[in-house]
C-alpha cells in the first residue's frame, strides 16, 4: 500500500515538473535590483603638486600607472603635429637608457607601455610594481629625445600622411575640425607634410620643458597594490620632479555659420560615402545639462539597435551597417556628430533621413517608452563599466580635473533617473542648432551634384583631404582668350615678336633631341635614370630610357617607344616589345612639332577650353583643358599669368579596366637651348609626379637642328 502511494507521489511529482514548465510566451520578471557600489579611490598630492590617485584592485596580480599632464590644449600653428610627435618620442629612451635598452627593459618585464602626447599608460604584473615605476620616473623626469629617433618618427609620420587620402574617416575628421572650429583652433589644426617639416627636435625639447610639470599632472595607479605602498613609491620616484608655471592658452573664437553647409571631399573609386553631420556644441563636462544631452543622443543615435538612426537607416531601410550620433562635452568646446558609411546610390537619401531624425528629436518630445528604454540601458552601461577598475580611476580623475561635486558619480544614476521628456527637448534646443549644421561627405564625386540641395546656397564646397577649400577658379579679365594665352607662350618660346615670325622659325627646325637625367637614391636603391627623346616633323617621336644601378654599375634599357609617322612600337623591360595598334597610331598622328601648342587652334584634332584662373602655391595660372580627338584622356595646362610660361601640366588617363592615373609635370627655370637660327626656350629641370612617386629630372642636353638620325623613329637607337 505504501509503495503504491509512493509510486503515485512520484508520478505526481514528475507531472508536476512537466506542468511547472516555464511560460515561454512572456519575458521573465527581473529579480530584485542588486544595487551598485563605486569603490572610493585614495587621492593625495605630493609636495611638487603632482596629484596621485590610487585604486586598489586585487582580483588579478596586475598594476598600471597612467600619467596625465593636464595642460590646456595648445595651438601648434605652423608646426601642427607637434603634440603627437612629442607623444611618440616620449618613450624613446632616457638619460640612462638608450632607445634599444629602454625597449628591451619594457619587453623583458613583460610590461606594456603606450606613450601619448599627455603622458603614458604602462602596466605589468604586480611583482614588477617598483621596477616599472622606476622606469616611468625616468621617462617623466629625464627623457632623452634622441635626434635619430626623432628623424625616423618624423619621416614615418610624413609617410603615413599620404594614407589619409585612402581613409575616408580621417578626411571627414580633418574637414570637421576645420569647419567646426576654424584652422586656428587646437581642434581645427590640420597636420600636413609642411607643418611636420617645420618641427625640429628642439621644438620637442622645448615642449617638454614648457608643458611637462607635476603641478598640473596626475599619476593614476590601479591594481594589486596597497595604497600606502603606492604613496611610498610615488614619493620616491616622482618626488624630485620639479614644478613650474602652467602656460596659459589663447584660442580664437570658433566660426559662426549661418545656414546648412555641405562640404564634399572627393575619394575616387569609393563604393561608400562617409557622412558626418556635425557642429560645435558649447557643453562642458559635468554641466548638469550634460546628462540630459546624453539621453537626447542615446535616443537619437547612441550605440543601440533601437536608437532612431539605427532603426531607421539600418533596420528599416538597410542603407548602412551602422548609423550613430554622439555628443562630446569638452572643457573648451564640445561637438555633435551624426553619420556613418552608406552605399553611393543612397547617399542623398541617407542625408535626408539623418536630417529628418535630427529635426524630429529637436522639435518633438520623445516618447515615454523611448526615454525609459534609454535610461535603463544607460543605467546598465554605467554599472557594467564598473567591472573595469580603470573606470573608477577615470571617475576620480574627472572629478578633480573638472572640479565636479564629490558625489557626482555616486549620484549619477539618480540624476539620470530624474531626466524628463521635457528636459530632453529643452537641452536639445539649448545646445543644438539643426539649421546651422555642417554636412561633410567623403565619397565618389559622381554623386556630389545630388547634394547641392542640402546646402543653404545650393552649392556644395569642395575640400581636399586636409580640409582646405579647393578654390573655385577665378574668371579671366576681358580680352584674355585661349588664343592670347597660347600666343604669349609661343612668342616667349620662340623668342620672337609676332606669331608669323614664330611660324617662320618653326618652319626651319626639323629635328629635336633631348636628354634628361635623374638620380634616385633612397633606402634600398641608388640608380640613375637617363631619358632621351627625339622629335621630327610632322609628328615623328621616339624615346629611350636607361637605368643605371650605381651599386653594381650595370645598365638596363627600361623602356623604348618609336613612331615613324605610319607605324611604331613600344618596349618595356621584362615585358618585351609590342607594335602600336590602330588607336595608338591615330593618337600619335597629330601635328605636334616642335611644340603642340602651335596647332591647338588650327588643327581640329585638338579641343582647348579656358577654365579660368587657378592659384597654385600662391601663383596665378590660366588653366586650359586640352582634349584630343577620340580619347577620354585629357590634360590640364597651367600658364603663368605673370610670365606666360607653361609651368604645370597634369595628364589624366584611364586604362582599359577603368583605373584612373595621373601624371603631373612641374617645369622649372626656362632657358635658351640651341644655336643660331635653331633656338627655343625649354625648362631646364622638371619634377615628374606619377604613381605616387616624385622624381626631379634635369635636361642635360637639348639639340635643335634641321636634320638628325632618323633610325630612332624605326626603333633603332
Amino acid at each position: 500500500m505504501k509503495l503504491r502511494i509512493i509510486h503515485l507521489l512520484l508520478i505526481a511529482f514528475v507531472s508536476f515538473q512537466t506542468l511547472a514548465q516555464v511560460d515561454r510566451t512572456k519575458a521573465p520578471e527581473a529579480q530584485p535590483n542588486p544595487g551598485i557600489n563605486i569603490p572610493k579611490p585614495e587621492v593625495f598630492e605630493l609636495e611638487n603638486g603632482l596629484k596621485v590617485i590610487v585604486v586598489e584592485y586585487h582580483k588579478q596580480p596586475i598594476i598600471s600607472y597612467q600619467l596625465y599632464v593636464d595642460h590646456q590644449p595648445n595651438l601648434e600653428g605652423n608646426k601642427a603635429g607637434l603634440n603627437d610627435l612629442f607623444g611618440q618620442l616620449l618613450g624613446s629612451g632616457t638619460e640612462k637608457l638608450s632607445k634599444d635598452q629602454f625597449d628591451e627593459t619594457v619587453d623583458f618585464m613583460g610590461a606594456s607601455f603606450y606613450p601619448n602626447s599627455r603622458g603614458y599608460f604602462a602596466s605589468a604584473l604586480s611583482k614588477q610594481a617598483e621596477p616599472l615605476i622606476e622606469l616611468m620616473s625616468q621617462v617623466t623626469l629625464s627623457p632623452s629625445f634622441p635626434e635619430e629617433e626623432f628623424d625616423r618618427i618624423k619621416n614615418q609620420q610624413i609617410s603615413e600622411l599620404s594614407t589619409i587620402a585612402t581613409d575616408p574617416s580621417s578626411m571627414a575628421s580633418n574637414v570637421a575640425g576645420v569647419v567646426n572650429y576654424g584652422e586656428n583652433h587646437p581642434y581645427g589644426e590640420v597636420v600636413t607634410e609642411k607643418s611636420l617639416e617645420n618641427i625640429s627636435v628642439d621644438d620637442i625639447k622645448a615642449h617638454y620643458e614648457t608643458y611637462f610639470k607635476p603641478n598640473f599632472s596626475y599619476l593614476v595607479v590601479v591594481g594589486d597594490i596597497q595604497a600606502e605602498k603606492a604613496k611610498e613609491l610615488a614619493n620616491k620616484y616622482f618626488g624630485q620632479w620639479e614644478k613650474g608655471e602652467e602656460p596659459k592658452a589663447n584660442y580664437t573664437e570658433i566660426p559662426q555659420t549661418e545656414g546648412q553647409h555641405v562640404y564634399f571631399v572627393d575619394k575616387p573609386g569609393a563604393v561608400q560615402s562617409v557622412i558626418k553631420i556635425t557642429q560645435a556644441v558649447d557643453i562642458k563636462p559635468g554641466n548638469p545639462d550634460e546628462i540630459k544631452l546624453k539621453v537626447f543622443n542615446a535616443i537619437l543615435g547612441g550605440g543601440s539597435f533601437s536608437a532612431r538612426l539605427m532603426a531607421n537607416l539600418r533596420e528599416d531601410k538597410a542603407y548602412t551597417y551602422g548609423c550613430y550620433s554622439s555628443v562630446r562635452a569638452d572643457e573648451i568646446t564640445g561637438s555633435f556628430n551624426a553619420g556613418g558609411s552608406f552605399r553611393n546610390t543612397v547617399t542623398d537619401s541617407a542625408v535626408t533621413q539623418i536630417m529628418y531624425e535630427i529635426n524630429r528629436i529637436y522639435n518633438e518630445p520623445v516618447t515615454k517608452e523611448e526615454i525609459s528604454l534609454v535610461k535603463s540601458s544607460m543605467t546598465g552601461a554605467f554599472a557594467r563599466s564598473l567591472e573595469n577598475p580603470q573606470t573608477v580611476a577615470r571617475f576620480a580623475l574627472n572629478t578633480i580635473r573638472y572640479n565636479l561635486p564629490d558625489d557626482y558619480y555616486a549620484t549619477y544614476l539618480q540624476k539620470l533617473e530624474q531626466v524628463t521628456i521635457e528636459d530632453v527637448l529643452t537641452a536639445g534646443k539649448k545646445y543644438l542648432n539643426p539649421e546651422n549644421l555642417n554636412i561633410i561627405i567623403v565619397g565618389n564625386s559622381k554623386i556630389a551634384e545630388k547634394l547641392n540641395e542640402f546646402d543653404v546656397n545650393h552649392k556644395i564646397t569642395f575640400k581636399d583631404a586636409y580640409g582646405n577649400d579647393i578654390s573655385p577658379l577665378k574668371e579671366v579679365e576681358d580680352g584674355v582668350s585661349v588664343e592670347s594665352i597660347l600666343n604669349k607662350y609661343l612668342l616667349k618660346v620662340f623668342m620672337v615678336d609676332d606669331i608669323e615670325a614664330a611660324k617662320a622659325k618653326a618652319e626651319k627646325i626639323g629635328y629635336i633631341k633631348m636628354t634628361s637625367v635623374t638620380h634616385i637614391k633612397q633606402a634600398g636603391m641608388d640608380v640613375t635614370l637617363t631619358a632621351k627623346s627625339f622629335m621630327a616633323k610632322p609628328y615623328l617621336t621616339a624615346s629611350i630610357t636607361k637605368m643605371k644601378d650605381n651599386g653594381s654599375g650595370q645598365e638596363y634599357i627600361t623602356s623604348k617607344e618609336w613612331f615613324d609617322g605610319e607605324s611604331g612600337g613600344t618596349f618595356v623591360m621584362m615585358q618585351g616589345s609590342t607594335q602600336l595598334n590602330e588607336d595608338e597610331i591615330a593618337e600619335r598622328s597629330f601635328n605636334s612639332f616642335p611644340i603642340s601648342q602651335m596647332y591647338y587652334l588650327s588643327d581640329e584634332n585638338y579641343q582647348v577650353e579656358l577654365l579660368g584662373i587657378e592659384t597654385v602655391n600662391d601663383k596665378e595660372y590660366f588653366k586650359l583643358k586640352v582634349n584630343t580627338k577620340n580619347s577620354e584622356d585629357f590634360t590640364f595646362e597651367y600658364y603663368n599669368v605673370e610670365t606666360g610660361m607653361l609651368d604645370i601640366t597634369e595628364n589624366f588617363t584611364t586604362d582599359p579596366e577603368g583605373n584612373p592615373a595621373t601624371t603631373k609635370i612641374v617645369k622649372n627655370e626656362y632657358q635658351v637651348y640651341g644655336k643660331g637660327k635653331y633656338t627655343l626656350m625649354f625648362a631646364s629641370t622638371y619634377d615628374l609626379f606619377m604613381q605616387g612617386q616624385a622624381m626631379k629630372f634635369e635636361n642635360t642636353e637639348i639639340t635643335i637642328s634641321k636634320k638628325g638620325n632618323m633610325d630612332v623613329f624605326k626603333g633603332e637607337f
Binding site: 514548465q21 527581473a30 529579480q31 611583482k127 533601437s306 552608406f342 552601461a381 554599472a383 634600398g524
Partner: protein, 491 residues
C-alpha cells in the same frame, strides 16, 4: 651573478585560477558556469559550433548571414524586440561569426539572468526567419562588407590570403562570403541550416558573473532542458512553422490512424506544441542527429604562391601567410611564440630591425591566425617611403632565416615567457571574456575547458629548439602565400 638576477625575475606570479562548473543537459546542451560577485552583472552566452567552414560551395557567407537573421525574433519574440528587451533591462547584446563558431551574448545586470536565458533558449528552440528580415539583413550585410572590406584600405587582405592559402578546405572563403551566394539562397537553405546546426548538442551555454549557482541551474533547467532534440525537435519546429494542413500532410504517415480521431483537429489548433508533440508522437526519437563537419586535412603548401593585389591604398605593403597547424596541435604554442619573437613589443625583431634599424617598413607585424583546422601565420608590413617591396621582402626574409639558423638566446626565451605570463594573467579580466574563453576551450579542445587555467604550462614548456624547429618546418618559402599590395593607379 647573471643567473641570480634571472632567477629572481623568473619567480612566477601567483594567479587566481578561474573556477567553473560544467555539465550536460539531457538534450546534449553543454553548460559552463563561473561565479564572481565583484560587479552585479552577468554574461549569458551561447556558442554554436558552426562557422563559415560548415558552409557549402554556392552558399558561402551563410553562417554569418544567419547570425544576423537570428535577431529577427522567435515564436514568442516579435521582430525588432530582441534588442529592446535587453536594452530595456539595462543590458547589451551582440553576436559574431568566425570560420569555426557563431557566438551570441547578452551582458545584463545580474538580476536579469532569467531574461538572458529566455532569449537564448528561444533562439535555440524556434527562431523565426521571415522574408522581410531576409531582405533587410541581406542589404545590411552587403553594407557591412563594403564598410569593412571594400572601402577599407587593405580590407581585402583576408579574402585574398585565404583564397590562395587553401585549395580544398572551406577556409578558402572568409565568413563574409559571397554576396551572390546570399542572393541565391532559398527558403529550404534556411530551414536546413537551422535544423542541422542550431541544435542543443552543437551549442555551449556559458555564463559568468554575479550568479547564485543553485538558482542559475534551476532556471537553466527550466528554459533549456525542455528543448527537445533529434527527430522530436524537427517535429516541434515544423509544428510551429508549417501551416496546419502542411504539417498534417508532411507527417501523414507517422500520424496514421490518429488523424481520424475526432479531437485531432482541435488538438492541432489549440494544444501547446509541447503537449501536442508528446501526445501524437510519443515514441519519436530524441536522439541527436550527427552534425556534419568538414573532414579535410589539407597538407601544407608545396610551392610558394606569389601575387599582386591592386587596392585603393597609398602605401605599398607585403602581406604574407605561412600555413601553420591547427589550434589543438602541439606545435601551436611554439608557432605563437615565434610570432611574438618577431613582433611583440618594440624590442621584437621585426620592429627593431626592419622598422627601426633598416627603416624598410613603417610597421611590420606578425600574428598567428589559428583555427580549429589548420591555420595560418600572417605577416603584414607597410613599406617605408621609397622602399621597393622586394627590398622589404628581403629584410623580412632575413629575420625569418635568422630564426631558422640560430637558436634564440636564453634571455629572449625568458622575455617571451615573461610576456606570456603577463598576457595570460591579464586576459580573462571581464565576465564576457571569461564566458567566451570557457566556451571556446570546451568547443575547440574536445571538452578541455580547464585549459583556461592550464594552457600557460604548454607555453612554458616550449624550448628555444622548438621555436627553431617550427621556423624550419612551417616558415619556409614553399609553404607561404606572399602578396604585394600596390596602389590601384600603379596598375
Amino acid at each position: 651573478m647573471g643567473a641570480l638576477v634571472l632567477s629572481s625575475v623568473a619567480k612566477a606570479q601567483e594567479m587566481n585560477p578561474i573556477e567553473f562548473t560544467e555539465y550536460d543537459l539531457e538534450n546534449g546542451l553543454h553548460v559552463i558556469l563561473h561565479e564572481d560577485h565583484s560587479t552585479p552583472i552577468v554574461a549569458v552566452t551561447l556558442m554554436y559550433h558552426v562557422g563559415s567552414k560548415n558552409e557549402n560551395v554556392g552558399r558561402t557567407g551563410f553562417a554569418h548571414f544567419f547570425e544576423h537573421l537570428m535577431f529577427e525574433g522567435t515564436q514568442n519574440i516579435d521582430r525588432h524586440q530582441y534588442d529592446k528587451y535587453v536594452e530595456g533591462a539595462g543590458g547589451t547584446l551582440n553576436a559574431n561569426t568566425s570560420q569555426d563558431r557563431t557566438f551570441y551574448y547578452e551582458l545584463l545586470p545580474s538580476n536579469q539572468l532569467k531574461l538572458g536565458l529566455w532569449l537564448e533558449s528561444e533562439r535555440l528552440l524556434h527562431a523565426k526567419v521571415e522574408n522581410i528580415g531576409i531582405e533587410t539583413q541581406r542589404e545590411v550585410v552587403k553594407e557591412e562588407k563594403r564598410q569593412r572590406m571594400d572601402n577599407q584600405p587593405y580590407g581585402s587582405w583576408m579574402a585574398e590570403i585565404f583564397k590562395r592559402a587553401y585549395k580544398v578546405h572551406p577556409y578558402k572563403w572568409v565568413p563574409i562570403g559571397s554576396m551572390a551566394d546570399l542572393d541565391a539562397a532559398q527558403e529550404e537553405d534556411y530551414i536546413n541550416f537551422y535544423r542541422t546546426f542550431y541544435v542543443p548538442h552543437n551549442a555551449t551555454l556559458s555564463i559568468a558573473g554575479d550568479i547564485d549557482m543553485k538558482l542559475a541551474k534551476e532556471w537553466i533547467n527550466a528554459y533549456f532542458a525542455s528543448i527537445p532534440n533529434g527527430d522530436k525537435l524537427d517535429i516541434y519546429r515544423d509544428k510551429e512553422f508549417l501551416a496546419p494542413s502542411d504539417f498534417t500532410a508532411k507527417y501523414e504517415k507517422q500520424l496514421g490512424s490518429q488523424l481520424k480521431k475526432k479531437s485531432f483537429s482541435t488538438d492541432l489548433n489549440e494544444m501547446t506544441t509541447d503537449d501536442f508533440v508528446n501526445k501524437y508522437f510519443p515514441k519519436v526519437s530524441t536522439k541527436p542527429h550527427v552534425v556534419p563537419r568538414p573532414q579535410i586535412e589539407e597538407s601544407l603548401l608545396n610551392h610558394e604562391i606569389r601575387d599582386t593585389v591592386y587596392d585603393n591604398i597609398q602605401l605599398p605593403a607585403i602581406i604574407m601567410a605561412y600555413r601553420t597547424p591547427e589550434l589543438n596541435h602541439k606545435d601551436h604554442y611554439a608557432v605563437e611564440m615565434l610570432n611574438m619573437l618577431l613582433s611583440q613589443g618594440n624590442s621584437s625583431r621585426f620592429n627593431k630591425n626592419v622598422v627601426e634599424k633598416k627603416q624598410k617598413a613603417l610597421a611590420a607585424f606578425a600574428f598567428p591566425f589559428p583555427l580549429e583546422d589548420q591555420g595560418i601565420s600572417v605577416t603584414f608590413a607597410l613599406a617605408n617611403m621609397g622602399v621597393t617591396l622586394d627590398t622589404l621582402e628581403m629584410a623580412l626574409n632575413t629575420e625569418i632565416k635568422r630564426v631558422q639558423n640560430e637558436l634564440i638566446t636564453d634571455k629572449e626565451l625568458q622575455k617571451l615567457q615573461n610576456q606570456i605570463e603577463k598576457d595570460f594573467v591579464s586576459s580573462n579580466s571581464t565576465m564576457a571574456g571569461i564566458a567566451e574563453q570557457l566556451a571556446q576551450y570546451y568547443t575547440y579542445y574536445q571538452g578541455n575547458t580547464n585549459l583556461i587555467n592550464e594552457e600557460i604550462k604548454k607555453y612554458m614548456s616550449v624550448t628555444a629548439e622548438d621555436i627553431k624547429r617550427v621556423a624550419n618546418q612551417y616558415f619556409i618559402e614553399s609553404n607561404r602565400v606572399i602578396l604585394y599590395y600596390l596602389p590601384k593607379d600603379k596598375k
